[in-house]
């Protein structure tokens, strides 16, 4: 059902944790559906220099969070915004069809965290 890559990221998730005083933070998902994802970003000169996440959810939710953080680390905000759930899924060698919605969550979390950052910038 899950690819080796999904299981590998699930068992050894990268970038788990929190960033104190993060530049952008967002939580997406709904515990009633079993999934909540929280993304923390540290951004310098428009580049994501650090990223951490916490996820409550299935194997796919945790694995997509993990790989998504790897994919955006070191990228500019613009580049990060271009990452789609399709790209995340492909990077994991695919997901079972009934788990595709979990990868949407990662995309949403990135976008929401960047939006939070941009809002904070505006309000500075």
């Amino acid at each position: 059902m899950y690819s080796e890559k999904v299981l590998e990221h699930f068992m050894n998730p990268r970038n788990v944790g929190e960033i104190e005083n993060a530049d952008g933070v967002a939580q997406v998902g709904n515990p009633k559906c079993g999934d909540v994802m929280k993304m923390y970003l540290k951004i310098e000169n428009g580049v994501i220099v650090d990223v951490k996440f916490k996820t409550l959810g299935c194997g796919a939710a945790i694995a997509t969070s993990s790989i998504a953080t790897e994919m955006i680390k070191g990228k500019t905000i613009e580049e990060a915004l271009k990452i789609t759930n399709k790209a995340v899924t492909e990077a994991l060698d695919g997901l079972p069809p009934n788990k595709l919605h979990c990868s949407v969550l990662a995309e949403e979390a990135i976008k929401a965290a960047i939006e939070d950052y941009l809002n904070k910038q505006k309000n500075k």
Partner: protein
């Protein structure tokens, strides 16, 4: 990673017992006759089926002619419900069941609703047991059928079928019980229970998959479900799964003989497990009545944990278990049973079902009690919701 698997999912399925397979093997090899034929090879196959029927009848205290073989629990349930509903629709179109039945009961009932029947789903109490009085209150003039499971497959709660059957009989309503989880775990006596129909499935009690039986009390009005040849006295057509039926017969005979010993062994392990989990882990609850439950079933909910992740991590430790989380199936709703006993969806998502079997030992429980707290902690450390709770300090569910 441990190499040996510790199997804690006996409610999902069980391995075939050695003695059972041994009795099946001739019917998978040289005894291949079609039981409907009249030469020796066919007569031998027929005899084997009739011996199996006798064994099932004996285990349930039924008459031999009241046992019909099917392809499993799902077919037995489908047949019992659709077969009686359609055969008795001249009397009425109302059916009563509970909110915690297996989908093999709920989905045929949904289908019957579509074609003109009405179904009342009686809710269960917070301990996962239905109150017979609530069944009684649900009865109408046009009620023709009541279906309540003998034991629940998720939380293991045992239902008061004898009382419910008595209520049904007072009103001449047909009463079916899904005993798929109960056979081989608790004693079953169809005459004493006073029921009309009972479903069972061999692979839940160390028999093969793909074979089951339906007990139909003599005189019960029911249509055939599989129509065709004259097998099973014209009630269930199709060339018989001879080896499967032989396996079912042997498995139920063994299960019945060892019932007390088996149950008391598992109950001890189960209690050790429940006590251990409740004392070692925070934010946890036991689902289903503490005592009126199958000897082999423990079902917990852990807050701030999602069930599928839990299962995957247990799998890496060589432990096979189950969960009522929607994420394990990719569906949207978590277990209808856990919701029916009043759990919030987010708590239902964090459920773990451990169902024991004869191969399990005290060491297995010790091992689970060793790795489970670590796994739960690991997942909670990753949960954004646990963060805030930790900051606020302990609380009980």
């Amino acid at each position: 990673m441990k190499e040996k698997i510790i199997y804690f999912d006996h409610a999902a399925t069980t391995p075939i017992k050695k003695e059972v397979l041994e009795e099946m093997i001739p019917y998978l090899t040289e005894q291949y006759g079609n039981p409907s034929t009249i030469y020796k090879l066919g007569r031998e196959a027929k005899k084997a089926i009739e011996l199996a029927r006798e064994r099932v009848a004996k285990a349930l205290n039924a008459d031999i002619e009241e046992i019909y073989f099917t392809s499993g629990g799902t077919e037995s349930d489908n047949w019992a419900l659709k077969g009686t509903a359609l055969a008795n629709r001249d009397k009425g179109r109302h059916i009563i069941t509970t909110t915690i039945e297996h989908h093999a009961v709920l989905n045929p009932l949904k289908y019957l609703e579509k074609i003109g029947f009405e179904v009342t789903y009686v809710p269960v109490e917070p301990n996962g047991i239905v109150d017979p009085n609530k069944i009684k209150e649900a009865i109408r003039e046009d009620t023709i059928l009541i279906s309540v499971m003998l034991a629940n497959n998720e939380i293991g709660t045992i239902q008061p079928i004898k009382e419910i059957a008595k209520i049904a009989k007072e009103r001449e309503i047909i009463i079916h019980t899904d005993a798929v989880q109960a056979v081989g775990q608790i004693p079953i006596n169809v005459k004493d229970l006073g029921i009309d129909l009972l479903s069972l499935s061999a692979h839940k009690f160390y028999g093969p998959k793909g074979v089951g039986a339906l007990y139909i009390r003599k005189g019960t009005r029911i249509h055939p479900f599989l129509q065709g040849g004259a097998q099973e006295r014209n009630k269930r057509a199709g060339t018989e799964n001879v080896a499967g039926i032989v396996g079912l017969g042997k498995a139920i005979e063994i299960a019945n003989k060892n019932l007390n010993e088996y149950a008391s062994k598992l109950q001890k392990l189960r209690d050790k497990l429940i006590d251990g989990v409740l004392s070692k882990i925070d934010y946890v609850r036991l689902n289903g009545d503490r005592y009126q439950r199958l000897p082999n079933n423990a079902n917990f909910s852990f807050e701030f944990v999602e069930g599928e992740s839990l299962l995957l991590l247990l799998d890496t430790k060589g432990i096979a278990a189950s969960s009522g989380s929607a994420c394990t199936s990719g569906s949207l709703e978590p277990s209808h049973v856990l919701l029916a006993i009043g759990l919030e969806p987010e708590v239902a998502h964090g459920s773990l079902r451990i169902t024991l079997g004869e191969d399990n030992t005290e060491e297995d429980i010790d091992y689970l009690l060793e790795v489970l707290p670590e796994i739960v902690s690991k997942l909670r450390e990753m949960s954004p919701l646990y963060e805030s709770v930790k900051k606020e300090g302990n609380k009980d569910v």
